[in-house]
Symmetry: C2
Subunit: 183 residues, 2 copies
DNA sequence: GGCCTCATGTAATCGGTTACATGATTAG
DNA sequence: CTAATCATGTAACCGATTACATGAGGCC
């Protein structure tokens, strides 16, 4: 149920993993792709992309081969290592733990699943709903025990968001079903 | 309508400003107060508190006097400079620009207003609602012009959150009115 | 003896942001 | 002539996080 210890989690990694899951890319290209496809919801910055790639190579998640070019600097073409592919697959199928992560991380998962394993889309949405439901009842619980001013307010707010997210997921689920039925 | 250029904004500063708006405090105490009162929604960390105070003193927002103690290290008692007080007042009355900032920044404003200028509470809530309404219609607008897959999804999600926030603010407003009527 | 509280900090590490460097090619 | 595109990076800075340092005092 719990993934990594929440501490050493760099969500930006998954953007890179996701981009490379569609096939090898060199850094410049990878940045362009992400900017184009996800630029509206999550941006990395060029330098950061290169830096991330280096770090991830150290970590054994990606590897590169040099492709020489005439009149242009060499390209470093990156692809996923088995470890990287594994990590991506685990991530992309798992719901996010916090409502606040829906905006970036969950949308990114949806994006990658839409161009990859579409068949997991429905399952992801449902398990994400489940997480939201658990969040809601957890918040209900907490309100009973520590309902002092600010905490109550914050609790209400989080509940409102979690409920909104749940409804949005419901709409999303219906859309997904219609989409896959058409096919 | 626009505050600072969004770049050089360190929201954590306002926690310190807000805490000191209630009267001078030394660093250790300031940390304790924040932890106790806002710990559930926003935490700073002890080292960071000291570091922030130094930076803010450089920036002319706070100043300190040393208070010697026997058998204990000296205290550095901080208080707001006029510039700091001004900055806090401007901040605390202004709605946050993004829905995502409601969770921390807006709740903090509410907290500080509740123990300070309660009379501004109602106004803040209303202007925050106005911001949310503008957000909603802006999103509606954008959906008409660029409704490509992901962007539409992201737009729907943001709308759902903005709507939820709006309703939560409505409840908050009613509560506030009842509260001030009782008195 | 060992741990918690008071009260201040420094040091190390890490990630994000911005600016800059290089050097050829093509479009206006 | 200038600007943008291709393709890689380095360097500097800034803030957050974590761990560690100091040293007296009280509590179990």
């Amino acid at each position: 149920m719990v993934g990594q210890p929440e501490k050493e989690r760099n969500p930006a990694e998954y953007l890179v993993l996701g981009a490379l899951a569609g096939g090898p890319l060199h850094g410049y290209d990878l940045y362009q792709c992400l900017e184009e496809q996800l630029g509206e919801i999550w941006t990395l910055g060029r330098s950061q992309t290169y830096a991330l790639l280096s770090r991830m190579e150290q970590a054994g998640l990606v590897s590169h081969e040099r492709r020489a070019q005439e009149k242009r600097p060499d390209r470093k073409v990156f692809s996923l290592t088995p470890a990287g592919r594994k990590k991506f697959k685990v991530w992309v199928k798992a719901p996010v733990e916090h409502v606040r992560d829906l905006r970036l991380e969950f949308l990114a998962k949806i994006h990658f699943l839409e161009k990859g394993d579409r068949k997991f889309l429905g399952k992801l949405i449902e398990s994400q709903q489940q997480v939201c439901r658990e969040k809601l009842s957890g918040l209900e619980e907490r309100k009973r025990s520590a309902p002092s001013g600010m905490e109550r307010l914050a609790g209400d707010f989080r509940q409102a968001l979690a409920r909104a997210a749940l409804e949005w997921l419901e709409v999303l689920k219906r859309k997904e079903k219609d989409g896959s039925a058409e096919k």
